[in-house]
């Protein structure tokens, strides 16, 4: 029953939140037109994070929810980041030239020298 009382007088003005979300949407669309990559990234993803936060806090009432729900959500996000961190060295840089393989390089340069003869 505690949540009843809390939401009754603590809830934000939902229409105002929606208005801010729309403004943020417009900014994020406008971002690329400036042509600067960093700005585009910030307006695109930075704003996305802000919008998600606002929806989570104000519409999903995470601010008055039991705190372990927030821990649960954060933990899942951490796992997604963990997956990204563990996989990206292999998938993002798939050419496989992140490290030097001296023996292989010696062997191939010998082979090249042999072929040249």
């Amino acid at each position: 029953m505690a949540e009843h009382a809390a939401t009754a007088h603590e809830h934000p003005n939902y229409v105002k939140v929606w208005g801010i979300l729309l403004v943020l949407l417009c900014i994020s669309i406008a971002g690329p037109f400036l042509g600067i990559k960093v700005v585009t990234l910030i307006t695109a993803f930075g704003i996305a994070i802000v919008k998600a936060y606002m929806v989570a806090k104000n519409f999903m009432h995470l601010n008055i929810e039991r705190v372990y729900v927030i821990y649960l959500i954060m933990t899942m996000l951490v796992f997604v980041l963990l997956f990204f961190a563990g996989t990206s060295p292999d998938v993002m840089k798939w050419e496989g030239d992140n490290w030097v393989k001296p023996k292989v390089e010696q062997a191939s340069s010998h082979a090249a020298a042999h072929h040249a003869e």
């Binding site: 939902y14 929606w18 585009t40 993803f45 929806v55 729900v69 997604v80 990206s88």
Partner: protein
């Protein structure tokens, strides 16, 4: 004899809401895994830019507007349900469903256009991710819309009003997924 199990709240939170949060939690990892895979592949393939340039930011932006507005009507429906006004809650839920339908129709138009131009599921791995990610999201929109219709039907008779909040939480999650899909597929391409 009514079942006792789902009337207890030892964890201090109504069971239905607890369950929806667990559903959202597992969906975060599903979408997170998919989007992380997309980001990794996108960063590994700068040459995809010629494909990603095709997506239309205005259609995507309009769909974002539709979803954000439907989230507004969903949370207003929750507010109405809290005050015991089942009819108003149902009406607002129907608006949310309308938003879902609009989203799907716009997407259908968008995809028809892109497919007719030759950008199909298998034409390039970017498009594979595009259709898969947006497609799985769209399935969640459709599922959410259908469930919402059932919840609204009950709410109109002032029955099971707590479910308005629950479908709302799910709906906001679907909205948040799109909030991230939109920049990934339309802006920072």
């Amino acid at each position: 004899m009514r079942p006792i199990a789902n009337t207890r709240s030892t964890a201090g939170i109504p069971t239905g809401r607890l369950a929806v949060w667990w559903v959202v939690a597992s969906e975060i990892v599903i979408f997170g895994g998919l989007l992380a895979s997309y980001v990794m592949q996108r960063l590994a393939h700068p040459e995809w830019t010629s494909q990603t340039a095709v997506t239309n930011v205005w259609i995507g932006g309009f769909n974002t507007f539709v979803l954000l507005t439907s989230s507004l009507s969903a949370v207003l429906a929750h507010q109405a349900a809290e005050h015991g006004d089942g009819k108003k809650a149902a009406k607002l839920l129907y608006y949310t469903c309308g938003g879902a339908l609009t989203f799907i129709c716009v997407k259908a138009y968008e995809w028809t256009h892109e497919i007719s131009e030759g950008y199909t599921l298998s034409s390039n791995t970017f498009w594979s991710f595009y259709y898969t990610a947006a497609g799985i999201h769209a399935l969640h929109v459709i599922a959410g819309g259908i469930i919402m219709l059932f919840v609204a039907a009950d709410a109109k008779k002032n029955l099971e009003l707590h479910r308005v909040e629950l479908i709302g939480i799910y709906w906001h999650f679907v909205d948040i997924v799109w909030i991230f899909l939109f920049p990934l597929l339309y802006i920072a391409k």
